[in-house]
């Protein structure tokens, strides 16, 4: 089952397209990370998925075919928006009761025990909690709805490292215990490796990379070798991004099942998720999508890496 599926999806605000011709299918059972530079359309895609915005073109469904924003979809999808907006003048207990009244399902006992573990006093007003506590409260309210899909928009942006860790620990526990699927957007790349097992990379309103993290890591390597041979290797290999440091060149290549991509005189290293994401972010023309190769890496066609940094 795809927790989010979109075809030909476009969203225009005024005369600007925030998202265009977006086709994406995010399978369930993952923590899927939506990554991209500012303005890539991450928030737009998530707003469309939770029904806050309506598509200009195309269609988006959630939880295996339910229209985004429909009553069935709202029942099964919980959303924690950027900066976790909550009613600051209401007490934590009031917010629990309010959320319970706004949903068919609400696990009051779970919510109370989570807040107890986190040491968040239920009598305090939401506005008097720390940023980390507010984020945890918003997450707890979302999880107590027992959603099948949890959507988090930049959940870590405002949090300090400890709060980030605690927040994601709550998400991971919920995923392990209840099998909730998670889709989160982030530009904190370093955090993603620990939490995400599915990656969607958005760039300029289009999906550039999509796939399971393990598959993506297995199908990419960093090759290190003499800089003079860069051009020659680029013609042979599927180079995503090339970086040059002195006499050495580092090529991030897509191996596509090649047993030993490294030519003689070159070393092949595994790639980290952060490196991989950065390489694609720097090369908006490159792509790695599941199924028949839709995006062919740009450097292959030009024969030259499009960015070489000294």
């Amino acid at each position: 089952m795809n927790v989010i599926e979109a075809r030909g999806l476009g969203k225009r605000y005024g005369s600007t397209w925030a998202l265009r011709e977006c086709a994406v299918a995010i399978p369930g059972g993952h923590v899927a990370a939506l990554v991209g530079p500012n303005g890539a359309g991450k928030s737009t895609l998530l707003n469309l998925a939770v029904g806050l915005a309506a598509p200009t073109t195309g269609a988006i469904t959630v939880l295996g075919g339910q229209a985004a924003g429909s009553p069935g979809a709202l029942d099964g999808v919980a959303f924690v928006a950027q900066d976790t907006p909550l009613y600051k003048n209401l007490s934590v207990a009031d917010l629990l009761h309010l959320t319970r009244n706004l949903n068919r399902r609400f696990d009051q006992r779970y919510a109370r025990s989570r807040l107890g573990e986190l040491g968040i006093p239920v009598k305090r007003k939401a506005g008097q909690l720390s940023g980390g506590q507010q984020a945890q409260l918003a997450l707890t309210l979302a999880l107590a709805r027992r959603p099948r899909l949890l959507v988090l928009d930049e959940p870590m942006a405002m949090l300090d490292p400890v709060a980030r860790h605690d927040f994601m620990a709550t998400v991971m526990t919920a995923m392990a215990d209840d099998g909730v699927s998670v889709v989160l957007s982030s530009h904190v790349l370093a955090e993603l490796e620990r939490v995400a097992d599915y990656l969607i990379l958005l760039s300029q309103g289009r999906v550039q990379v999509a796939g399971e993290v393990d598959d993506l890591l297995a199908s990419h390597r960093v090759l290190t070798g003499p800089a003079a041979e860069t051009g020659q290797q680029a013609r042979r290999l599927n180079v995503v991004h090339a970086r040059q440091g002195g006499a050495q060149a580092h090529l991030l290549v897509r191996t596509d099942g090649m047993a030993d991509p490294a030519p003689s005189g070159w070393d092949a290293h595994p790639v980290s998720l952060e490196e991989l994401a950065l390489a694609y972010l720097r090369e908006p023309g490159a792509g790695a999508l599941p199924g028949p190769a839709r995006g062919r890496p740009a450097p292959l066609e030009s024969g030259q890496p499009s960015e070489v940094t000294q």
């Binding site: 806050l52 309506a54 009553p71 907006p85 309010l98 009244n101 399902r105 696990d107 006992r109």
Partner: protein
């Protein structure tokens, strides 16, 4: 997994679901209790004042107005309480829009301004049921409160009407009447709700509500109300005391001569009748003292006929219901438009 406190029901319906009113009542109360408390304090304080003042006025009417044409009655209701009655009615004119602006405008504007709509509208309730329930519940509460208050106000006003020093039809008190006051409050609330949705910020939405409401009340009082029913026409110089004179003009030899508001009347009266008997105050003719009779009588002697179109006092209730009727219809439209905007608006 722990037990669910509210069990999940089978997902039998993908389309429309009924609004769970008790749950939304709790939500609405908890989020808007400050605004509702403000309404209660405002109306409560005014009610206490009207009650205390009203007791005195009723007492004065009982002692001084036997009959109502007596000099003592005039001294009391034209002099002693006259100004109070006017000040109170002018102040009350602002009450519906205060309620509307401060209870109605923030309902959506605050959510949109602070971003909490992203929380509220992604809950299982869904955004349009959430909006409809909140607006309907708040509208019912403020309208009922205004209705109860206006009953007290009409009790307060009884001696002024009974003594003949005010008429229920006068512009100053008509829209504070039994039904119209509640309807105007409902309209102000609905204007506020729509302004909040369109403007999306609390303070500008409140300002817009005040401005639109002022425009609507002025247009109604000056141009609209007199046309609810075709006015009656008379050439009799004296109208029944409770009637609302809509306009006056003069004819001579069956042709229109001039209106009672224009400067031509002043010139004509000056020509035919000694000026010491009258004075012009905002274009109206007032008689200083008896003498040779009123300007109307003077003009009558020179062949002019005074015509008056008027709404008789017996039409007061019909007018209350007509005005309330279109205000309620307008409010339903405005609330429906607000819900529709919430439903389709891409946030």
């Amino acid at each position: 997994m722990t037990a669910l406190t509210i069990p999940a029901r089978p997902e039998q319906d993908a389309g429309l679901r009924p609004v769970p009113w008790p749950r939304m009542a709790w939500v609405t109360w908890r989020q808007h209790r400050a605004a509702l408390a403000g309404v209660a304090v405002l109306l409560g304080a005014l009610a206490v004042y009207l009650w205390l003042d009203g007791l005195q006025i009723h007492h004065a009417f009982a002692t001084d107005c036997h009959p109502a044409s007596s000099l003592a009655c005039g001294t009391t209701f034209s002099g002693r309480y006259g100004t109070t009655g006017i000040v109170v009615s002018i102040f009350l004119q602002a009450v519906p829009v205060l309620i509307g602006a401060f209870a109605g405008a923030p309902v959506l504007a605050r959510e949109l301004e602070t971003g909490t709509f992203r929380f509220a509208w992604t809950q299982g309730m869904g955004r349009w049921r959430w909006t409809l329930a909140k607006l309907v519940l708040l509208a019912v509460v403020v309208t009922a409160a205004a209705g109860a208050f206006s009953v007290l106000y009409s009790w307060y006003n009884q001696p002024f009407f009974a003594s003949g020093y005010a008429i229920p039809f006068s512009t100053r008190v008509f829209d504070l009447g039994e039904v119209a006051f509640a309807a105007w409050t409902l309209a102000a609330f609905s204007i506020g709700a729509l302004a909040g949705m369109l403007i999306r910020r609390v303070v500008p939405a409140i300002a817009a509500t005040l401005a639109s409401y002022a425009g609507l009340t002025l247009a109604t009082a000056l141009y609209l109300r007199q046309h609810y029913m075709t006015p009656l026409l008379t050439s009799h110089p004296n109208l029944p005391g409770s009637a609302w004179s809509v306009s006056q003009w003069y004819t001579k030899d069956g042709n229109f001569a001039f209106s009672a508001q224009g400067s031509q009347l002043v010139r004509t009266v000056t020509r035919f009748c000694p000026p010491r008997y009258w004075t012009s105050n905002h274009g109206e003719i007032r008689v200083h003292s008896g003498g040779n009779g009123s300007p109307a009588q003077c003009l009558s002697r020179h062949g002019y006929t005074q015509w008056t179109s008027y709404q008789p006092g017996s039409r007061f209730w019909a007018f209350q219901w007509i005005e309330s009727g279109w205000l309620v219809a307008l409010s339903v439209l405005l609330i429906a438009a607000t819900v529709w905007l919430v439903r389709r608006r891409a946030a």
